[in-house]
């Protein structure tokens, strides 16, 4: 039992060892995990890890199975132990699984970290590459700097060599100068000697000249002597010989003078030379101020040209020296620049060392870039807007170019429009005023006309009145006349009576003379009667006058009355009209049967025919009949409605058809009428005559397809060109034919007026 248990334990140990081994391998896997974390291949690791675990489990299971197979004895305990171990192992496995999970999570974290790291690494690499580039550039600059340094050194060396050469040349020049000063001194000595010689020669010549003049004087005295001799005797031959002697002497004199002039010229030339030399010396002395040439100041009057050459050379060397100095300065500057560049590069290198700063810079730059992109977009948009506005402005300028002349701009244009509108409004107002004035005047005119008519009528009536009065007056006058006549008659009668009375009195007197008093009394009575009669006449006359005045008054009153009557008559006429209207209204109302319910009531017999008919109907007429009648009514109403509808539809169709035809006419230029059945009459908008029309016959196709149109011959079709007809007959296209006709007619109207 113990053995077995030992065995068991040993087996268990084996198992655990095995397990631990496997775990080790797994942990090895776990160890490798860290390595993997740096790499991107994490998933594969996990899968493999899990694979390992499952394999391990299977291996353990197998081991247990083997163990169980091999050792079947003491199975209970063993199994129990085995189970325990198994349970333990399973717990362990669970723990391991947890661990694995934890590992996985950490792994994931690590992977994310690794990703980040890789990213940073990439960035680092990028930065490194940048750094390398910068380094390269710095190295390049360094090499360039070194090269330039070398070049500068070379140049310096060359310069030094050149300077050496120049110094040598200068030495040569100084030695030459020395030689020149020596030769100059010699020249001075020689000049002094020549001066001495010249003074001697001068003296000699002056002496000779004195001698010559003495001779001349001698010869002249001889000539005078000879002339005296000739004058004393015939000494012509002697004179002639003397003349020749004089001539020869003159020639001698001339020769001598020439000699003198020669010597003089020579002297002058030597003097000139001397002065030249002096000048050269002076210049030399001036040039001597140069420190290099100080030592060279030696009297050397002999070789001027050499001095000049040397001077020129010296100047050249000086210029060369200066140029070299300039070059030196330039190279120094270059060197300094290179040094600066170097320092810059060094600082850049230092900056490169700081990756984070670069990163930040990078980010800020990216942000800036993004912002700049936005800004650029905005800028582009604004540019487009600007262009659009410019175009608009141009258009507006084109449109309102006229107004731009008036220092335009839309605002001023608007102002002008507003001003014009105001003016327009004022004009409209004026027009309204004028029209109102016109209307007022018209109404006044009509009023005046009516008044004129009235006045005319009143005038005529007055005239009539006047005529009447005149007639009356005439009548009265005739009456008056008649009265007067009567009075006259009465007067005559009275006279006759008087006469009678006189005769009677006379007769009485004749018969009875004492009755004179009676006669006189009689006459007095008569006189009284006459007087009375005259008074009556006067009264009558007064009456007549009164009548006349009354007449006139009456005439006036009558005219007034006439006026009154007229107005009254008008009023009455109006009243009559009003009453007639009222009457008509009332009659119409009466016709309707209106009545005054306060005074009148309407009665009818209760058993009147209509009620009887109703009763009859209700009794006799079937309900069906009534229904039928009602239906009939209903149907009649329907018919009415439908008729109305039909009429309305007809109207609408007519309108629409007209509209359509007008549209076709306006768009296609042809007025289309359906002339007869299936015949279409087309008249062009540009037709010259009423008879210029096209006639098409429509033949419907069987099977509901679109039918054919055939052109029928008219006078107009005969007049058309063959080219136009060709569209129809060869191309078989009616629309093109029609359009060609249109174009033809249009061109005829437009271009050949």
């Amino acid at each position: 039992m113990d053995d077995s248990s030992d065995n068991n334990s040993s087996n268990n140990n084996n198992l655990t060892q095995q397990f631990l081994k496997t775990m080790n391998t797994s942990s090895g896997g776990g160890g490798s995990m860290k390595r993997y974390s740096t790499s991107n291949n994490n998933n594969s690791f996990v899968s493999r890890n899990s694979g390992i675990n499952s394999k391990q489990l299977i291996a353990i299971q197998r081991a247990i199975d083997d163990y169980l197979d091999t050792d079947t004895g003491d199975a209970g305990t063993i199994i129990f132990e085995a189970n325990e171990t198994l349970a333990r192992q399973q717990e362990y496995i669970k723990q391991l699984e947890h661990q694995i999970k934890a590992d996985n999570s950490t792994e994931n974290e690590l992977s994310t970290k690794s990703v980040r790291l890789t990213n940073t690494e990439k960035e680092l690499q990028e930065l490194k590459s940048k750094y390398y580039e910068l380094e390269k550039s710095s190295q390049f600059f360094k090499t360039r700097a070194s090269e330039s340094m070398i070049r500068v050194q070379d140049i310096e060396q060359e310069m030094e060599r050149k300077i050496g050469l120049k110094n040598k040349e200068i030495d040569d020049i100084t030695s030459k100068l020395r030689y020149i000063t020596q030769s100059e001194e010699e020249a001075k000595k020689r000049s002094l000697e020549l001066e001495l010689q010249y003074s001697e020669l001068e003296r000699q010549t002056s002496l000779k000249l004195k001698a010559m003049e003495k001779e001349k004087l001698q010869w002249r005295s001889e000539v005078v002597d000879l002339k005296h001799k000739v004058a004393g005797s015939n000494e012509e031959a002697q004179i002639k010989s003397k003349d020749s002697k004089i001539d020869s002497l003159n020639i001698l004199n001339k020769q001598l003078q020439q000699e003198v002039s020669d010597i003089k010229s020579r002297l002058n030339s030597t003097l000139e030379l001397l002065s030249d030399k002096d000048r050269q010396l002076e210049s030399f002395l001036v040039s001597k101020e140069d420190p290099i040439l100080n030592s060279l100041v030696n009297p050397s009057l002999s070789n001027d040209e050499q001095i000049k050459k040397l001077q020129t050379r010296l100047i050249d060397s000086e210029t060369l020296n200066q140029s070299i100095k300039n070059e030196l300065n330039y190279y120094k500057d270059v060197n300094e620049k290179n040094l600066k560049q170097l320092s810059n590069l060094k600082s850049q290198l230092e900056n490169l060392g700081n990756i984070e700063i670069i990163k930040q810079q990078n980010e800020s730059l990216q942000d800036k870039l993004a912002r700049y992109q936005e800004i650029i977009e905005n800028f582009n948009k604004l540019e487009i807007k600007h262009n659009l506005l410019v175009q608009e402005k141009k258009d507006l300028e084109k449109k309102y170019g006229e107004f731009d002349k008036f220092q335009g701009g839309p605002e001023q244009f608007l102002q002008r429009i507003a001003i014009l509108e105001n003016e327009n409004q004022t004009y409209v107002g004026k027009i309204g005023e004028l029209t109102s004035n016109l209307k007022l005047l018209e109404s006044r005119n009509s009023d005046i006309e009516s008044t004129i008519l009235e006045e005319k009528s009143s005038l005529s009536s007055k005239n009539n009145r006047i005529d009447e009065f005149i007639e009356k007056i005439k009548r009265l006058e005739t009456q008056n006349y008649i009265y007067k006549k009567e009075i006259e008659g009465l007067n005559k009668i009275l006279d006759l009576f008087d006469l009678d009375s006189v005769v009677n009195s006379n007769a009485k007197e004749g018969t009875d003379g004492g009755d004179t008093t009676a006669a006189t009394s009689d006459s007095s009575v008569r006189i009284e009667r006459v007087k009375e009669l005259q008074r009556a006449l006067g009264e009558k006359n007064a009456l007549v006058e009164q009548y006349e005045s009354q007449l006139s008054n009456k005439s006036k009153a009558i005219t007034d009355h006439v006026m009154d009557y007229k107005s009254e008559c008008e009023k009455l006429n109006k009243e009559i009209d009003r009453l007639l209207e009222e009457n008509a209204l009332l009659e119409s109302r009466l016709g309707k049967g209106e009545y005054d319910p306060t005074k009148t009531k309407v009665l009818h017999m209760t058993m009147n025919p209509s009620t009887a008919a109703d009763n009859n109907k209700s009794l006799e007429n079937n309900v069906g009949d009534q229904k039928l009648i009602e239906e009939n009514h209903r149907l009649l109403m329907q018919v009415n409605d439908s008729e109305k509808k039909l009429d309305r539809l007809k109207l609408v169709f007519k309108q629409k058809i007209n509209e359509f035809r007008e549209g076709v006419y306006a768009l296609l230029g042809y007025k289309i009428d359906v002339d007869q059945q299936n015949r279409y009459k087309l008249q062009s908008m540009y037709a010259e005559k009423e008879s210029d029309y096209l006639m098409f016959q429509y033949t419907a196709n069987k099977g509901g397809r679109v039918g054919n149109m055939e052109l029928l011959e008219t006078a107009f079709t005969d007049s058309l060109d063959r080219e136009i007809k060709a569209y129809l007959f060869t191309c078989k296209s009616i629309p093109s034919f029609l359009s060609q006709v249109t174009i033809e007619l249009f061109s005829r109207q437009t271009f050949h007026p």
């Binding site: 009659e587 016709g591 309707k592 049967g593 009148t600 209509s610 109907k617 009648i629 009602e630």
Partner: protein, 202 residues
């Protein structure tokens, strides 16, 4: 009749008789002309120098007799203003025609001299009206098949309503057209006639 014709003096009673008789014949003429009753129910009678068709229908005869009797009573009492014959549609009860006879009475007072008007003249006037009624068929619109009529009497407010009578609505025509006919007078009663009809051209 002969007696009236010979006389030229007109009394209230005589005038009332003339007017009532005129109403009887004119109503008969209208009913015949407007075809409210079958034409075979009418018989020809000579009156006013005209052939006038009078109904044979006993019911109608009785009705007219009743109405006219009452009317003559009102005429004597001077209580009647109008007699109206209204033709209505039997189904819709709509008034289609109104024959209006306006009556204006000028009743002589006590002690007033008797009025004279030759009988012949009055008859001529009535004849003219009957002729117009006959002729009015030419312009009046056709009546629909089923129509009936009613007689309305416009009386004074104080007139008493006899048995078998009642107040009625005036049966107006909406959208009507009037034609005035002639009038006649007996010097006591003046009768103006007029026809109003419904216009159909909506």
């Amino acid at each position: 009749m002969q007696a009236i014709a010979s006389k030229s003096n007109i009394t209230l009673k005589g005038s009332t008789d003339i007017v009532t008789e005129f109403f009887a014949y004119s109503i008969n003429t209208i009913l015949f002309q407007r075809g409210l009753y079958p034409s075979e129910s009418f018989t020809r009678v000579a009156k006013y120098g005209l052939p006038i068709l009078v109904t044979n229908d006993q019911g109608l005869k009785d009705y007219l007799e009743n109405v006219l009797k009452q009317l003559s009573a009102w005429l004597l009492a001077d209580e009647v203003q109008k007699l109206v014959l209204v033709i209505t549609d039997l189904v819709t009860k709509e008034a289609l025609e109104r024959w209006v006879f306006d009556i204006q009475a000028d009743i002589p007072k006590e002690g007033e001299p008797q009025r004279n008007k030759p009988e012949k003249e009055i008859m001529n006037e009535i004849q003219a009206i009957i002729r117009q009624i006959t002729a009015s068929v030419t312009f009046l619109p056709l009546l629909p098949n089923a129509c009936t009529f009613d007689l309305l009497v416009y009386t004074k407010k104080e007139a008493n309503v006899p048995q078998k009578w009642e107040e009625s609505d005036p049966k107006y025509i909406t959208n009507s057209q009037q034609v005035k006919l002639r009038s006649f007078t007996t010097s006591i009663h003046k009768v103006d006639s007029m026809v109003a009809y419904k216009l159909n051209n909506e």
